[in-house]
Assembly symmetry: D5
Homo-oligomer: 156 residues x 10
């Protein structure tokens, strides 16, 4: 019966991610380079290219132009993403270490934020982050900086 109707398919964020990865590999680009070419940070650029964030429309168009993607990809990159991760406890060691830091230092972060600001949280929405390589005689270090707006609990 299926031939009496047709289920349309739509370009998805997964499709566009594949296009970006393929164009990046063929052109020998880096995330730093791609981010610089559209005037955004590498963290946000990678995250939105992977489909975990939405590019502002002008940045989406800049990326489409820079990488030679089909025009329709720009609107897809601008769509709100559904953020899904399937491993409640991540297994990849590079990601697990950050999970471990949250497990070990989570109560400390909470206590110090409360001491400095009062009862509330650091926003993960009004938020930015960067990763830097810092030279060090005993071995270079990864520097990670996050900044999020403090949100105080309402009482009513």
């Amino acid at each position: 019966m299926k031939d009496t109707y047709e289920v349309p398919s739509m370009m998805t964020k997964e499709d566009v991610t594949m296009m970006i990865l393929s164009a990046k590999k063929q052109a020998g680009l880096t995330w730093e380079g791609i981010a610089a070419s559209i005037g955004m940070s590498p963290v946000f650029t990678h995250s939105a290219a992977m489909g975990m964030n939405a590019f502002p429309m002008d940045k989406a168009e800049a990326l489409v132009t820079a990488l030679g993607l089909p025009q329709e990809a720009a609107s897809v990159l601008n769509e709100p993403p559904t953020k899904v991760w399937e491993q409640a406890v991540p297994t990849d060691p590079c990601i697990y270490r950050f999970y471990e830091i949250v497990g070990v230092y989570g109560p400390t972060l909470k206590a110090l934020i409360e001491e400095k600001f009062g009862t509330g949280i650091m926003s993960a929405i009004d938020f930015d982050m960067s990763v830097t390589r810092v030279e060090h005689p005993k071995g270079d270090r990864v520097k990670l900086e996050m900044s999020g707006k403090f949100l105080g609990y309402n009482s009513w």
Copy 2:
């Protein structure tokens, strides 16, 4: 039968945490202040006071003196901790937001660390962290800085 032998009890890290919290409350101290008085960072001081890290012996003794704890507490604060967290997905909103950041940005952190350093991870052991309050006209912000040694995968 239990009366024919006696099960000894030993001062635990939980006991010392209670002593610290009680002394802190009675003296009206802050974690910043306690940390400054022993010459350590607030993050490490809180974390070790909660039993998630071990104080170096001289710092443990300084803390015992500063807060008027029993002498035995210093060696307990210096013991290696067993780091346990019971909620694979934390429920407290202030801690959950950090878990969410790892879920959303974990693959991004991995990609950028690999781009800058090669295949490997940021150490969560040779590691330090700070929390700062940054004034901002649209609402003050929490600034979180981490630094960990890059560890490249061995091949053999």
Copy 3:
């Protein structure tokens, strides 16, 4: 050995919750009544009395006076809480139905918020809620109203 030192105990939020529940029962009060007497909403009052929110200091003192609690309870009611729930999927039918609503309508809420505001979320921190009984000929209805600040995702 335990006798050579003493582990201090501190008044906890659980202790104060028991004091409130006992005073409420003996005085035959309602949550509506308690909330009105301190000038707060019933939702926030119950939640903070259960230890899931922190009363502002003046409200904490008003509650302590209203219910005849020990003075120390006010500062405990003002402390930042650690919000823990142990059942990822709640079993009590009255709470489960709200979980079910999030399961069934979660993607709908997301789509409509994004349609009206752009990519972002409703804050669960800068947030308030009320519960009302609405008369209805086919059976009275529970009316639940929530309001949370819209937080748009940052891009950087």
Copy 4:
């Protein structure tokens, strides 16, 4: 052997959801607009279009006409859905915040419903909901209103 028989395929709710999303994108419609055109609320319209609710037959036909879907889609939209969500704890931040509200305020909702109505629950079946944007000088707010019939526990 498979060629000696044929497994029929039937139009599914997933198929119709894809048709709706495609038609909506091509025509540049909104959920508000689609809902208005068939005289239903945006919440119910989106939810049933996603396959989590069943449209009444006349509304299903109105939607099929409005979007130019194949006629068979109307009966599919009218079929009872099987409501499945795969993440017991949702990861998308916009949905998680509602899960968090149920975790934090669930016992409060239960206590206040019981205080106002007696032992029972708010129905998630005889239920409706709306989402509104409310302007606010400190940032616009999401207003969420739910109404469900109170159901008192039977005793027998």
Copy 5:
């Protein structure tokens, strides 16, 4: 410090359950007999005695009189319960078999209810149940009868 205040304790549903079980054992009663003496069904009587339902006030008082419990127990039996079960998949074979029936026949119950009533559910709130022993030449049988109000999904 704990001696400067006292945490009150209140009679709980668990306390009353223990009182009922002890009185039942000493008097050699059955659940059938207890239920008959207060004019309720055995299912509801056992369930409320275990703290999973609330007795109407007159039935609570009748039970307190019948079993010689302290007067305060009546109001405790009348309080709304929090229904908690800790094993998502029950292990006791007698209970597991009912879980298995839901797993095997759940989709069938859904299909037949929808065929007979339209889209909706059987209420587990406006609900009653009985258990009977039915003699049978090949081995007596357990007969379980449930009745719940049909609730049709709202559309709006």
Copy 6:
């Protein structure tokens, strides 16, 4: 390499379920009607058509004739099924309510079965069930009746 051999495919219970659903839809049948035409109960008929039970061979053949299925389908319908359900806690509200009933009343069913029969269980294998619509002035009710053989625990 795959072309040097061929992996045979066999008609599966899923295939036959699709054939039944398609034939049922095209002929406008109900489960009641199908069940009546082969002289079985609607509960068992639906369950076996979904692949959760095995039809006796004569009933399988009657069904194949009634719905015009390929002859091979009869032996497939007669094969022992592997009963799998993937959601330990079902999400569909119509099925969840039965799960909830097992959670709330499981210990009660156990206690009453033991009181009436001694230590043992109700069989979920030597078992039958029916669903009926019962008219009621305050809203029609779903009546569910199960009967299972009592199995007493062996002691040896």
Copy 7:
């Protein structure tokens, strides 16, 4: 307030298990020996002594006499147990190996039972089991024998 009423405590199966273990150790008995002295199998005797099965009343009394337990223990040993195990996947290696056998050979047991008997199961209720040591030149072996009544699925 607690002093105005008293919560009775009742002898539990856990209490009796402790009494049995203590008496067994003091008298230097084995499970084989205890089982022989009351005319039951070691498997059932140990299982019921651990509170996972109920002794027939005469056997319970024989055990109480044999081990010099208080008279009340006999009726406790005769009560229906609630069978609970807390580790869905057991960790102890001796028990895990049996879990592994069910994982590896479960589908095989199902296929062979169905081949020999038709669609159905082996009862775990009308069931017995024994453990024997079998001498073997390459190392003695554990022989485990189970026998359970075949239960064929009903169709109706």
Copy 8:
């Protein structure tokens, strides 16, 4: 790009399982019969045919000959399997009952093995098992016999 290289496919254990099931059905064989024809037990034969064990090479070749499978299948049947089961708690009733037996009697098996052999386990590797039908006037019984080498814990 995929056309510039080709990903080879290899005959898998799943492929061979399908070949065996298809040949068995077409020839109207039983597992008993197949096992007898290659001189192995039905339990091992079924298990290895399902891909949960490896046939010795001569038996693999005998099976290939007996069922007319392609020659390459013999080496696949001889490869070490990866034993995976996806349901930590099996749902099929016939398999669940064995899981239940491990849950209920696991500690008993452990205690009796330790009593007869000392501290150690029954091997699940140096292991065999059989299933027999035993006639019984009250209903035939499934007899399950397992034998595994006792392995005593090393101390060093």
Copy 9:
């Protein structure tokens, strides 16, 4: 009622672990030192002292003498342990790294064992292990050596 009988308490492995830890701390011993004094390896000694293994009787007595424990402790140290770990995924970083190694290299260990020995496993029962510190110019290394008997799968 509880006063009419007494529940005996027995010295447990947990009790003896506390005695050992207390004696070790007071005497300033190391695990290496304790192990040497009884002629066993540090790995086995620590593991059995923690209650995860059973000391041979002569070693148990030697330990009791060496540390001045009550005589009854020797038989407790000799009892078969029940090996329980509560975190399926360990959180302590020192233990998690070993879990990670099993996750990453598990399939490799399996492949190489099978290549060298045929289908089978390394025993975790007939097994020993040691930990050594190895000096290294770029930082000392932990050397871990395990040896377990190869167990080939039976076929029958």
Copy 10:
């Protein structure tokens, strides 16, 4: 619509793993042999061939040459892998035994590492491992040797 654009596909680590396995089978090679031919250890070679590690570029090229893989495979083998394992508790017996060793001996490894090195961990990144067959009169043994750099916790 999909025909207006094309989603590129890229050679994946899974593709290359299939190429390696196929070439290995056709050439009748062993992991030992492949590893020797490129001058790496069998553990690392297998692990990287399975996609759980990255080959250094020269080794990747050597492997491509040795096995006759397409040139593009070398760069794929050199890409950083994402290490994922799906079973938190592995089911294959050969892998489970290592999981069991971590469960039983994890706290022992932690205690001995801390005794020898101070508070810290063994790195799973700066790490190597080997597997050897050791002849033994009572049955050959698997010898597993791991070495990882000790990493001491920072304090700051």
